[in-house]
Structure formats: C-alpha cells, structure tokens
Symmetry: C2
Subunit: 345 residues, 2 copies
DNA sequence: TGTTAGCACTCTTTAGAACGGAGTGCTAAC
DNA sequence: GTTAGCACTCCGTTCTAAAGAGTGCTAACA
C-alpha cells in the first residue's frame, strides 16, 4: 500500500493532536480539525490503512488511534521545521554564567527543563586524552605538601599530601624538576612502572615521599574518570499521566537520581553527527535501549568545546513529546553554546 | 486527666503498629497485639481518653486512630532506645571512601537512604571562617597564570588567569611575595580597598595583571559560598502511600531536586546540640516550618569535622517513620563519622 | 469501680450494575 | 471514491448495595 499525501497529512494531524492532548485521536476529531473536508467515515478508512501499515495503533477497539514508534519516527524524520527564534533570549541568561563550565552546564540543563517542561540531562565535557602539562609541588607548612597538576586542556587538579617529616626547600625544587621532566606530556596510561622506577632512582634518598607523591598524582588524574552528569526537571515527568503510574515514576526518577545508568548510556552512544546540525538524534521508546524508558522518547545533541572535547545534552519526555519544539530549541541552544565557547577561546 | 502507664503503653502500641502498616489502628487490633489482656472495649475507653488528650486522632468516625503530632512527639521524647549496633558494618564501607570529603558525604547520604528507606540529605561542612594561608602564582605557559590558594582549613582553590602579555619569572616571584605578605591570615571579608590599593602600589608597573589576579582570588574565595547539599533516596518517598499523591510528590521531589529550599533550611536552623548526642533533632509535620513537608517528619543531626566546622545530616520520611531506628542509625553513624574525621587529623 | 459483652450506628471501601459516550467497521447509497 | 447510517464494542462514570471495620454507649458482671 502506498503512503499518499492524504494519508501522510492525516498521520501528521493525528500526531499533532495526540501531542497536545495525550489522548487517542478519533476519526471525527480529525474530520473537524483539518481542512481536508472529508467525512469521518473516509478518515476512518484511511486510518484503517495507516494502522495496517503500522504507523498508528489502537489501544483497544473503539478507541481512537495513537502514533506507533514507527509513526513518530516518520514524523521526526520528515516533518521537522526550523523555528529557532523563540529561544534567542536564553543566550543573555547563559552568558552571565559562562565563567565556570560546570555552572554553565548546570544552568543549561535547568533552562532547557524549564523551557520544554521535560526532564533534561547534560554530560560534562569529555576530554579525549589527559596529558600532564605541568606539575608543581609546594610545601604549605611543615606537615603538608601541595601537589598541583595542570593538564593539557588547562584543567587543574590538586591533592594535599601529609608529610611524615619536613622537606627542605631544595628537595622540593629537585622533586619539581624531576617530576616535570619525567611526566611532562605523558598520558595517564603511560605512567607505568618503568617511569616510576626511573623517578625513584633519580630522587634517591627520598623514596618514601615519592610513593605518596605518585599516589597523589595518580589519584588526581584518575578521579574524574567518571564523567559528570547534570540533570534537571526530573519532576517534569510527573506532568505526563502516561508516565505517572507509580512503577514507571519510581524507575524513571530513580534513574535520574542514580545517574549512573544515564551516564553509561551517554558514554556508550557514539558522538556521531555532523558538526553542522550538532548530531541531534531522536530515540523513541524501545530505540533508547533503556529498560525504564520504554514509554519515553529521548532527544540528544552533541556540543563541542573544541576538537576532541565534547559532551551531550539529552531531553527525556513522553513519546508524545513536542519533537518539533524540542529539536528547534536544542538546535538554537547549541548554536548559542558554540558562540559562548568560541568567545572563551 | 493523667497519662498513666497503661495509656502510655497503648499509645506506644498504636504508634508502633501505625509505623508498620500506615493504616489507622483499631481497638481490637491492640487488644490482640499486646500482652495487656484487655478487651477491645476497655481499650476503646482508653483510646477515647487519649484522643481527648490530643495524642491520637480519628481520621473519621469509625476508623481506627492514628498518632497526632503531639503523640509522635511524646514517642520520640520518651521512648527511644539505643540500638546502635546494626549499623556497625557501615563503617567499613565508609572508610574506603574517606579520601575526599565530598565523596564521603555523598556516600553517607546514599548509605543512609538505602539503610532507612527514607530520603536523605547531607550538607557539606561549613567553615566558620575562610582565611588565606598561602597563595602561589605560577606561569603555566605564555598565556596562562595559575593561582593556587590554600585556606587555613587546608582546602585548595585554583583559578586560571589569561595573560595579555607574558610575565617574566622575576615579576611572578615578586607577585607571590607581595600577595603572601599582604593577604596571609586575612579573611575574605577583610580584603577591602585599602589592602588592594597597597598591593597595587607595591607592584607598581604591573597594575594591569594585579586586577585580574585579585579578581581571580576573589572568585576563588567566594565561589563556595553557597553550601553543598548531597541528597539521596528521594524516590523512597514514593514508597509511602500517604505521600504519594501527585501534588505532594511533585512538591517534595521538586524540593529535593531544586535543593535551594533545603539548603536554606539547613542553613537557618542553628547547629544547636550538645556534642555528645550530635544534636539529633526531630521535626514533625508542621514543626519543620516547610510548606511541602507538612506530612513528613525530618530528623537531623550535626557532625563536626573540627571546631567551628560542621555540617548537617537530615532524613525525611513520612510522619510514621520509624523514629527509633532512624535515631539509632544516625547516632551510630555520627560516632563513626567522628572516628573517621579523627583519624584524618 | 473497673472491666467486659453486646449491639446499634457510622463511615469507608468494594463490587456490581447500569448507562452514556466515543469510536469503529461495515453496508448501502450517492 | 465518498458518505450517511447503524449496529456493535469497549471504556469510564455513576449509582447503589453490601460488606467490613471500628466506634460509642449501655447494661451486666466481678
């Protein structure tokens, strides 16, 4: 059977109305709502066809139809338009917060949640590699040695080391020199036993300190291995009756609170996506591959801070989410983020 | 009317049963459940008295009784016993995470939530004063100057400054010297214009850099002004039907997600509480002074890292929360936290 | 005087029945 | 190809009745 223009139009109307009301859509409603000037009977015939083709579903006999995953898919694939303007004012608000990237991302999640009425998540930027650019040890007082490590992406880590016995200034200088020459440019994964052994040899007498120093460095470099995830508007889920039964709410909110599962997901999915359109992706129901999201849809986009450094933004809502608006909002937001990151360079 | 032993015992039983079931408790149930060997009729008389005294409430005629806020209050004031042991094994788990205090606190929140089945929140330690102990500026590359600030509580802040033009090593040394002599021991609030002016004078030529340096220092010191709040188990709220209607869930979970309101609350309430018992406080229903917690109870405790540095732990559950267990768990946990902090000293 | 059995009464919860509405599928006519 | 009409299905709501839980009161008992 062929999906002609009229069928497409009817499908579109069904989805549109369903997005607004969340209730199955009947033939009479469509007949009245559209400018097709067709009777409900005709619409019924078409709907019967659409159902046969798998685009819509009847929850039970004598109910209207709701879009199937396949129907939504067609919708998002073919019918998205650019709206883009109404989020322009987000930018001003965001600029103020641009100081620290974590604050900025938190704010992005919040803004998106408030603007869309869906739940949102933003993953912190993921650095492709972590190379040591600069290490400095400083004695703070007799008992404390401070390690500051700058990575090649200019993030700074620090770790306080407790000293068993005071270190004289000269030793610290020597330590700094050795560490910098040995570790500079090295990736975390490259810090193997051989390198460590070499450092120990060079330091000679102060083997004891070296151990804790290297441990501290290891800690500092490893620590952020699990990437940050900022979520917001999780309670928006409660606004959609089809997600509001206790079991589903518990699962979904649990996932948002726990974050681990979402983080895993964010990590797993490849950044894939041409830079121009920020790789906006729509996952519908089972397409998410997440058990607790069977009744949800997920729209994701990728932002890039600079080459090889990227993060993701995700919006979770009911299947009847307003894809049109969400995608437009995301698109516009991504452009503004790009601007902001460019300014910071 | 006097609250004699028998009345007290009956009240106790009512609360105990209600805590378990969440349903109003009838006279017959009590008669069977206790070893008082009283008929339901007698119990009824006593219950009638208890209601008159305000300790219990009838949701409607011909329902059993549930404890009033006053009843709960009596319960927690007089009937708590120490259990203390069953949480002993928390300690082992916690020790592992003791490295970074924020990770530790997050873990505490989670452990408590899992163990009690209530929602929990833990506020990060609040430092009574923030004095600068040590400042160090370092050139990372031609364009970047790194500021590391150690506060007198040994927390470390850092800020990266973008340089307009390269700084020679000598200037950096001078800058370090001046900053340390000028700012050492100073509280954030003491950094007024006079101090700043003096620094600028001493630096002479490099006024330009000084501005951004001082701004960076200011940022670093101010940043953590709003205290951290770690929450966990918010979805546990869904386990209690009396809190599960949509309006309440939305409000409560919203509060937990937003955190601001909880933070305010945690800040407002004085730490009050003798050190021995960790100032465990129980707020029942309206006693919380929080709109969205009218149907909840809140148990808080205070932990101390060292003098003047303290934070709070809170457990939010339904009014029929198992106060006994919660208080015991908290008490035991606080002792273990004390131990851990002591070890770290 | 305190305790208890008994009973009428109240209120809630549950189940069932009845009903209306929404929507469909099919048929026959245009 | 389109439409009007109609029988049918299923859901949700409303209403009623019955069951259950619990009380308060009274009268009897130890």
């Amino acid at each position: 059977m062929k999906l002609d223009d009229r069928k497409l139009k009817i499908l579109q109307v069904i989805i549109k109305i369903y997005l607004e009301t969340g209730e199955p859509v009947g033939s009479r409603t469509i007949s009245k709502y559209t400018d097709l000037n067709l009777s409900s009977a005709t619409i019924r015939n078409e709907m019967s066809d659409l159902e046969e083709m798998g685009y819509i579903i009847q929850p039970h006999t004598s109910a209207g139809r709701i879009p199937s995953d396949k129907g939504y898919r067609l919708y998002v694939d073919t019918m998205l338009e650019d709206k883009a303007q109404e989020v322009q004012d987000m930018k001003a608000e965001l600029k103020e917060k641009a100081g620290r990237i974590d604050v900025l991302l938190k704010e992005v999640a919040k803004l998106l949640a408030v603007n869309t009425n869906y739940a949102t998540m933003v993953s912190g930027p993921r650095y492709a590699s972590k190379k040591v650019k600069f290490i400095q040890m400083t004695t703070v007082d007799e008992e404390h040695l401070l390690t500051v490590i700058v990575l090649d992406n200019n993030t700074v880590k620090n770790e306080m080391i407790r000293l068993e016995e005071p270190l004289d200034q000269e030793t610290v200088l020597k330590l700094n020199f050795i560490l910098n020459t040995s570790l500079n440019g090295l990736d975390v994964v490259d810090m193997n036993l051989a390198v460590i052994q070499k450092i120990k040899e060079q330091m000679g007498a102060h083997n004891l300190v070296i151990d804790s120093v290297l441990e501290a460095i290891g800690n500092a470099l490893m620590e952020n291995e699990d990437l940050e995830l900022y979520t917001s508007g999780a309670t928006n889920i409660l606004k959609y009756p089809e997600l509001s039964d206790k079991a589903k709410v518990t699962q979904l909110l649990g996932a948002f609170e726990e974050k681990r599962m979402l983080t895993d997901w964010m990590e797993k999915e490849e950044p894939d996506g041409e830079a121009e359109n920020h790789g906006i992706q729509v996952y519908i129901g089972s397409e998410t591959n997440v058990e607790s999201m069977q009744d949800c849809s997920l729209v994701t986009a990728t932002y890039r801070v600079n080459d090889g450094v990227y993060g993701k933004i995700g919006i979770v809502g009911p299947k009847r989410m307003d894809y049109d608006k969400v995608v437009a909002t995301l698109q516009s937001l991504m452009n503004q983020l790009d601007d902001i990151f460019k300014d910071k360079e």
